[in-house]
Amino acid sequence: MKLPIYMDNHATTPLDPRVLEAMLPYLREDFGNAASRNHAFGWKAEAAVDKARKQVAELIGASDKEIVFTSGATESDNLAIKGVLEFYKDKGDHIITLKTEHKAVLDTCKRLERIRQERLDELKMLRLSQLAETDVTQDNLAELSAKYRIEEDAQYQKWASRPTGGARVTYLDVEKDGRVNLEQLAAAITDKTVLVSVMFANNEIGTVQPIAEIGKLCRERGVLFHCDAVQGIGKLPFHVDELKVDLVSISAHKMYGPKGVGALYVRRKPRVRIAPIIDGGGHERGMRSGTLNVAAIVGFGKAAELAREELAEESARIFRLREKLRTGIMSQLDMLTINGSLEHRLPGNLNISFAYVEGEALMMSIKDVAVSSGSACTSASLEPSYVLRACGVEEDMAHSSIRFGIGRFNTEEEVDFVVRLVVDKVRKLRDMSPLYEMAKDGIDLKSIEWTAH
């Protein structure tokens, strides 16, 4: 067994050697531009891209014409959300998403909210300058808005009802197990809703969302459904027609492919339209300009093919390892909490809070094992994981969380080693923890007046 052990497969996965093998010719002699239509170099590249497109499509039960290659899932999320919003701006501008989504979705939504707010402020300033016959700036905007009751002004209302280029966004809470409440989702849909964006599986707690139910709901209500499926694809079956999803973000490097390449699935029947966010040569049927990253796309295709062929067997094996890790740790330590649903969960994910032990300290003491923590102690904000907080996990327990991500190349021997190491180090750190001592002495930690710093 070689150290260090990589058990952070939600962050990224190692490149499968078979994927690398498939890619190499396209980094060497087959370097052509897939858009070169008039010579053999271009044809070869185009054929390779076509094959990869089929491989990726097949993994999710789609047609190859529905796959748009991107630089990764962050771009795919941006393209899906901004693209739909712009294309359907005359229909509405309301988006519904979850508080536990990836930042690529949440921050895209926040930008769209900001754009809408800025546009409305401009309209208010314009209207108020007509009404008040004076210069309106951010400084007197609030005062004049109140004075002239701008929200009730018919002219302003008429202007504001036009597309702003931004969006209104509803961020839904999740249940304690991390799952969406379908009734709340249904209730949040309005006649202005154009898009629902819900992830397949969460990157921190591995919670799998009820995608088929959401897809059915969205189809019934005439709302498009985008799914960031980065963490689940290749680990659990995902079929676009069975799930009734309209747009799906996929990343290659989470399924043993290379970094820097991903895809957006865009449904053709019934047809979903998106406006591009990158302009240029009109590649990818105009939805994503830019010379294709042929070698990476070939690797992505190979990774998708392997994932499809090996999914059932591999997921069963990884699940067994995860359970071995979970039961091994839990049978030897007390005061542990599993974060996220155990039932609806990625097979390789384990997110545990080790009460009274700080996550970053634990990571440091198991430095031969690569994992992550919900304790964002290294970030400037010092705020623990927003995902755990959204699931109602107390801040101290969020600071105590560790995420294990088991993947294709982990072995049983590694799991046994990790169990022994974690149990040993948690005991050591608890011996060093004033909180553990107090808890053992029966002191209610909530009764103490702590000095926040």
């Binding site: 700080e358 970030s379 623990p384 107390e394 801040e395 923890s433 004033p434 926040a452 710093h453």
Partner: protein
């Protein structure tokens, strides 16, 4: 983020981990930080009637830098007078451990812990003296 060698050294071989009897009149206990912030430090000092710190123990819930900061100050305060210990500043701790800016709060906590422990000791002594003069 990479830790400095000194942080790693203290983290892997923490000095003076443990508990002193908090009911001992010569023991001052400082408990600072908050679980919600991810750092709680408990520093206990055994102080002679002459005001010399003869023993120091800590327990810390926190990241590696917080544990290293606590370990370091237990070494520093031993043998010092209360007045000398009061002059230990977070800047010295941060410098000794080469803490990056995001970890400065760990050294602040260590300084606060010393002050809180000494204050606790002084309160106990005052209470004792009050009792003695009353009797």
């Amino acid at each position: 983020m990479a830790y400095s060698d000194k942080v790693i050294e203290h983290y892997e071989n923490p000095r003076n981990v443990g508990t002193l009897d908090k009911n001992d009149p010569n023991v001052g206990t400082g408990l600072v930080g908050a679980p919600a912030c991810g750092d709680v430090m408990r520093l206990q000092l055994k102080i002679t009637d002459e005001g010399i710190i003869e023993d120091a123990k800590f327990k810390t819930f926190g990241c590696g830098s917080a544990i290293a900061s606590s370990s370091l100050v237990t070494e520093w305060v031993k043998g010092k007078t209360v007045d000398q210990a009061m002059t230990i500043s977070n800047k010295e701790v941060a410098k000794e451990l080469s803490l990056p800016p995001v970890k400065i709060h760990c050294s602040v906590l260590a300084e606060d812990a010393i002050k809180a422990a000494i204050e606790d000791f002084k309160k106990k002594r005052q209470a004792r003296q009050g009792k003695q003069s009353a009797s």
